[in-house]
């Protein structure tokens, strides 16, 4: 009887879902115990953070700031992916273009994010265009590196199939070229989304009057650590949702042929 209960997948600790739940509960327990032992405002307990989180969600303006930040993330992510993918494909396919642009690319890749943010605010003013440009410019070089390598790894023999069967250029690109690039695009997207939302917070902190980054700065000045935790958790929750509800299903769909 006891063995039967243990063998039940919903109760078996070695089941991946149960292991994840256990790991999360363990983190909460460590957090609760540490905050109880420290007894200081610098590490509020999960209970206090939860109360603030719910209160801010219902009565405060957390949803508004969350929405603004999410919008900036989506916009900057889309621009970075489109420009980075376009340049990556072009530089991966054309040797001379790569020689021409590689220096610029290395310069941008090694310029600190903070420098790009400050320069964008100085050149374009403290506005939305500067904020989005700064985030996108920080991410474009990383996307470019991944996509350029992907383009170099394209199997030319597959493209020859399109050539001998006289497939038109558009179809050759969409049906023969791009699918080979999907793993690289997904890798760039996954790395991009996690990097971009972190940069968006810095951009908001330095030059915007709304968004999670702006609020975190406000709470920092008030030394309100519990609210910093609550706002951070809200955005982490959104990004986990994006990972599991959007990116992972797309990846599973694109990689279906690998798993059969």
């Amino acid at each position: 009887m006891f063995n039967k209960i243990l063998q039940n997948k919903y109760l078996n600790i070695s089941h991946p879902v149960n292991m994840r739940i256990f790991s999360f509960i363990l983190l909460l327990a460590v957090w609760q115990i540490t905050s109880f032992l420290i007894k200081s405002d610098v590490l509020p307990s999960p209970k206090i953070v939860s109360i603030i989180f719910i209160n801010e969600m219902i009565n405060g303006d957390m949803l508004y700031h969350l929405g603004i930040t999410l919008w900036r993330v989506i916009l900057a992510f889309t621009i970075a992916m489109l420009v980075g993918t376009g340049l990556g494909i072009a530089m991966g396919s054309k040797k001379n273009l790569n020689i021409m642009l590689d220096g610029w690319h290395i310069l941008l890749l090694n310029t600190p994010a903070l420098v790009i943010i400050i320069l964008c605010y100085v050149w374009f003013g403290l506005n939305e265009i500067a904020a989005i440009s700064a985030v996108a410019l920080n991410k474009i070089p990383n996307v470019l590196v991944t996509i350029r390598e992907g383009t170099r790894a394209i199997d030319r023999k597959i493209l020859e199939v399109a050539d001998v069967f006289k497939v038109n250029y558009k179809k050759k690109f969409i049906s023969f070229f791009l699918p080979q690039l999907y793993p690289f695009i997904m890798a760039a997207a996954r790395g991009g989304i996690s990097l971009i939302w972190k940069i968006v917070l810095v951009v908001e902190l330095l030059g915007r009057s709304n968004g999670i980054g702006f609020k975190l700065n406000e709470f920092f000045n008030l030394f309100d650590i519990a609210s910093i935790f609550a706002y951070t958790l809200s955005f982490v929750a959104v990004m986990i949702f994006v990972e599991y509800a959007i990116i992972s299903p797309i990846e599973r769909r694109l990689n279906k042929w690998r798993t059969t």
């Binding site: 023999k157 050539d163 001998v164």
Partner: protein, 262 residues
């Protein structure tokens, strides 16, 4: 290298005319006088099954690349039905490897090279059925054996109803049983569609079994050194003694023919 494709009158209409004065190596490290093909001329009548046999590196694949339009850089003429072959003209091709898209199903792999009209998708399904793969229509290439993948490649080669079908040693590295099955499937489709076939092979027995005619090529720079019509009636049996007799006779008369010397 000049791209000198001129319109010339054909001796026989509706034939494939190949008249290559010179095709040089693309590799810049090789000297310019080192031609891959020189003074190669032949005409293939519509619907003929023509095998090309020659030693390794004699330019057989180069010839197929020129015929398919993958390589347009030649000094000479390639014409079909009195005209230069248009760039968008459908040509069937089967490579040494199946070259299927691993992310597409069997049905998608065949249909992808068409305009994907309802009629063409139906034809894709019919060809897949004829290849005996009706239960694998929605399988991915990774789920198929090497022989089955080649059957998909045969279906894909015929799906555009090509006037010319080019095959570059398509059954190489298959075991004899699977190879023979695929040869019979190919012959059946060819007899139904009467496509002009240019079939490159190293295997003289395969060439005699399959073809109406065999063109033997010399070592590079390549040219036609022997043109042999195969007069054995169809359908041919794989174990027909006439095949072996002809092969033996050919080799005894021309001992160096397979090495490109005669």
């Amino acid at each position: 290298m000049e791209n000198n494709i001129k319109k010339e009158p054909l001796q026989m209409p509706h034939d494939l005319l190949v008249d290559i004065r010179e095709k040089s190596y693309e590799n810049k490290n090789k000297p310019s006088y080192n031609s891959a093909i020189k003074n190669m001329k032949f005409i293939v009548p519509q619907g003929q099954f023509c095998c090309i046999v020659g030693p390794s590196g004699c330019g057989k694949t180069t010839l197929l690349n020129l015929l398919s339009g993958l390589d347009e850089n030649l000094n000479g003429t390639i014409m079909y039905q009195d005209n230069s072959i248009p760039k968008n003209w459908p040509i069937g091709y089967m490579f040494q490897e199946p070259r299927l898209m691993p992310w597409l199903t069997v049905k998608q792999n065949v249909a992808i090279v068409t305009q994907q009209t309802a009629e063409e998708i139906k034809l894709s399904e019919t060809l897949i059925n004829e290849m005996g793969l009706n239960n694998y229509m929605n399988s991915f290439p990774s789920e198929l054996s090497g022989g089955m993948q080649r059957r998909v490649a045969i279906a894909r080669a015929f799906v555009n109803r090509p006037k010319i079908l080019l095959l570059d040693e398509p059954f190489i590295s298959l075991d004899e049983t699977v190879g023979n099955l695929l040869r019979q499937m190919l012959l059946k489709l060819w007899e139904n569609q009467k496509t002009t076939i240019i079939f490159v092979t190293h295997d003289l027995r395969e060439a005699i079994y399959m073809s109406d005619r065999i063109l033997f090529l010399s070592k590079g720079p390549s040219k036609v050194i022997h043109d042999l019509n195969i007069s054995i009636n169809r359908p041919r049996e794989l174990n027909d003694k006439k095949l072996d007799t002809l092969r033996t006779k050919l080799i005894s008369n021309h001992p160096d023919i397979l090495s490109g010397n005669i």
